[in-house]
Symmetry: C2
Subunit: 443 residues, 2 copies
């Protein structure tokens, strides 16, 4: 349901007017290298987690202008007839490489490298940034929550606090970065993510009594379900839950109150009633700090909503899409970069490696080359892990990174590379990046 | 391109499992009143601005489970066969009323009232909240920026900093709340919003010189275009711009630096060069506070990105969807509400009025009734403006609120009702709501 539609107008107008001008003056054909990266880790994060790439690849496949879109561009005089004709046949035939989803990133990490003619590559700027900026912001927040939660399972429940499509992307990003399940059914269908859920207060209020509601839920979902016990009085709710379900009840959910205290009281009450295996799930406005505070409380699982889907204070990752090298009129390569002091960026094509010492990351090593061919191979940095994979070659997308299989692989990759983080990266407070970014000129 | 797809899985799993249980025990048929409201104005806002309703109405029309979705629900055993059969025929046949888009809101304002059987109304919870929470957060931030900008035009340019679909919703919400244009082409096509754009640094870097780039842009877009002058040195950029374009140049854009100082320097330089009508647009990480700071600077227009699409620190509006009244088994009406101390809500059906004193809002007056019929009419509060409109009757959507026409009407409505705000509501600092919410029991 989320595929096959044209994605071509998820685009800032200036991408097409720049194309229009470049087609007129001939520079549209110049071969270009764009890089997508962030200048800093927003929100004082110690690391970032890449997400969205697999989603973006499918969106690039669907980046074809349909008739209604072309008519709109013509009628609104956004571009001229020659540019409309170009867009009519548009499909991306260049190449894309970059960091795999789930990979960690640091300031300057070349998360995506997009190569092609200026015409083909410039128009992907907006959609590439939309996807990577949101999804990576959520994945980064999710990884911090996952670190705070330790072995306790985490469920994503934030759909209602994000735009309806972003909600699906958030569930996907959270799963890649260590969450175990989502409440979002579209994320389940589209991306193969396990879905879960309990019940809302409205279900209890619909019934003539809490007992009726609990009995109905157990009749439908079995005794291993999780009952929401805080609609009226929590102590009474727990008592009713065990009376109705018996001591095999799967779990109870707490969605209000001072959670460390309430969780301890509920645990004691459940144990007293003999329901020693009944789990406690908490869900009230949690973020990574609240989760850390609950580490010593008798909580078995967390449900996280608002903070997750809004990036826990950092709702966008601050990535940019910059031209770093291009061909000159004579075919030679030129490194290019904006010079403005507060937003300067580093020209030249990058290759990226993570140096490791006994398995622990020590540096984000980024080589910079003027030319197209001078890219170092992994062999030149034997103690470093090369960070870039090839996603698109000559317009052909490697489908291994797409769909549910891509998500599953990304989740595994993230779990593995997170092990490389130095211990100081696991703290939640604001700080500098956990490892430095080091540039090496290779020309 | 954004319509016609099924929206039925933009839904939390528990909506469908509650439905499953309620279908088994017979309560699914109970007539219910759900309300969508917020308990407080997140972020210390003095008022909120409703957005998303028109979008939501179309999404409700498309809330039909397609075959692949039904198969998913069956294969994953989310619900039983009887519930799948119910969902196969699902379409909302109830009614929806509430605040028009662009309307102001305060704590407790019943932004939407959804009536129907529990079965029909409960499943709309997630999508209704996704849409209203995001869109209203953006609209509220946009209104604050619009107040700070005064008569200077505001363009929305944040697509790259929000999920690709949320970007379109953000452009729409910003336009309703007072922005003048967007960079997002899909927002232009889908919602009839004026689009605009200048050029990116990549366009200058693509060319062999800044002069080549400016000449190309002027050849394509004419002399009234806006040139981006900060890729290298701003003073040189301005000089080149006027040399190439002449003194009729439409505008220059500044995207970096200490804007009040730089804008003053550029204005002086433009005036010296005789380009006294050339406008200055600024676009570097603006929010309502930065815009207010620039009030005395010679700036002609603002472009706002990140802060707009992330709600300027409040990326979600904190709205909830609560069952407030239902029929009992005997057909009588019962007001219901959760009792938990920190998240208590007020049961009973609400009607809402804004009391006015000489045209200035004084109270959000909300009447509360147990029953279905005891809703006060506007005539009972002659000095108050009734705030609710009817959007859906017996499943039939009033199309006046949808599409581009709905957006245009919402924008006009917002401009009108914003005039009712007391002066203290226009300050940007965190504070209590500008007017109190007053409940009146009418039973």
């Amino acid at each position: 349901m989320l595929t096959g539609m044209s994605t071509a107008l998820f685009t800032d107008r200036y991408e097409l007017t720049m194309l229009d001008a470049a087609l007129r003056d001939g520079t549209a054909a110049r071969h270009c290298v764009f890089e997508l990266f962030t200048r800093r880790l927003s929100g004082g994060r110690r690391f970032g987690v890449v997400a969205g790439t697999g989603r973006l690849l499918s969106l690039i496949r669907d980046f074809r202008f349909d008739e209604a879109e072309l008519r709109y561009l013509r009628d609104e005089k956004v571009v001229d007839a020659a540019t409309v004709a170009f867009l009519e046949d548009y499909r991306f035939t260049g190449s894309v490489s970059g960091y795999r989803e789930g990979e960690l990133y640091f300031p300057g990490s070349p998360l995506l490298t997009i190569e092609g003619s200026f015409a083909e590559a410039v128009v992907l700027e907006t959609i590439a940034l939309s996807v990577l900026n949101y999804d990576s912001a959520v994945a980064t927040a999710a990884a911090r929550m996952s670190i705070a939660a330790g072995d306790r399972p985490l469920a994503e429940m934030g759909s209602r606090r994000a735009g309806e499509h972003s909600a699906v992307a958030a569930a996907r990003a959270a799963y890649i970065a260590g969450f175990d399940a989502t409440s979002n059914l579209e994320a389940g269908q589209a991306w193969g993510i396990p879905t879960m859920g309990t019940a809302a207060h409205s279900f209890t209020l619909l019934h003539d009594s809490e007992e009726d509601a609990f009995r109905s839920q157990i009749d439908a979902l079995g005794v291993k379900t999780t009952l929401l016990v805080d609609t009226y009085d929590i102590r009474t709710g727990v008592e009713t839950a065990i009376r109705v379900a018996g001591t095999d009840l799967g779990g109870v959910r707490l969605d209000s109150g001072d959670l460390p205290i309430v969780a301890a009281e509920v645990r004691a009450q459940l144990d007293e009633l003999g329901a020693t295996n009944t789990k406690i799930t908490v869900t009230s406005d949690l973020d990574e700090y609240a989760i850390a505070t609950l580490a010593a409380a008798p909580v078995d699982a967390y449900g996280v909503g608002t903070a997750l889907v809004t990036g826990s204070g950092t709702p966008t990752a601050g990535m940019v899409y910059k031209l770093v090298a291009r061909q000159a009129g004579d075919g030679s390569w030129v490194s290019v970069a904006k010079a403005s002091t507060d937003k300067a960026s580093k020209g030249g094509r990058k290759a990226a490696f993570r140096t490791l010492d006994a398995g622990t990351a020590t540096q984000e090593l980024i080589t910079v080359s003027d030319g197209f061919e001078n890219v170092p191979s992994a062999g030149e940095f034997p103690d470093a892990r090369p960070l870039q994979a090839v996603f698109v070659t000559g317009g052909e997308i490697d489908t291994a990174y797409e769909g549910a299989a891509g998500v599953a692989a990304a989740r595994t990759h993230h779990a593995r590379v997170r092990e490389e983080l130095p211990v100081r990266a696991l703290a939640l407070s604001r700080a500098d990046p956990a490892i430095p970014t080091v540039y090496v000129d290779v020309d």
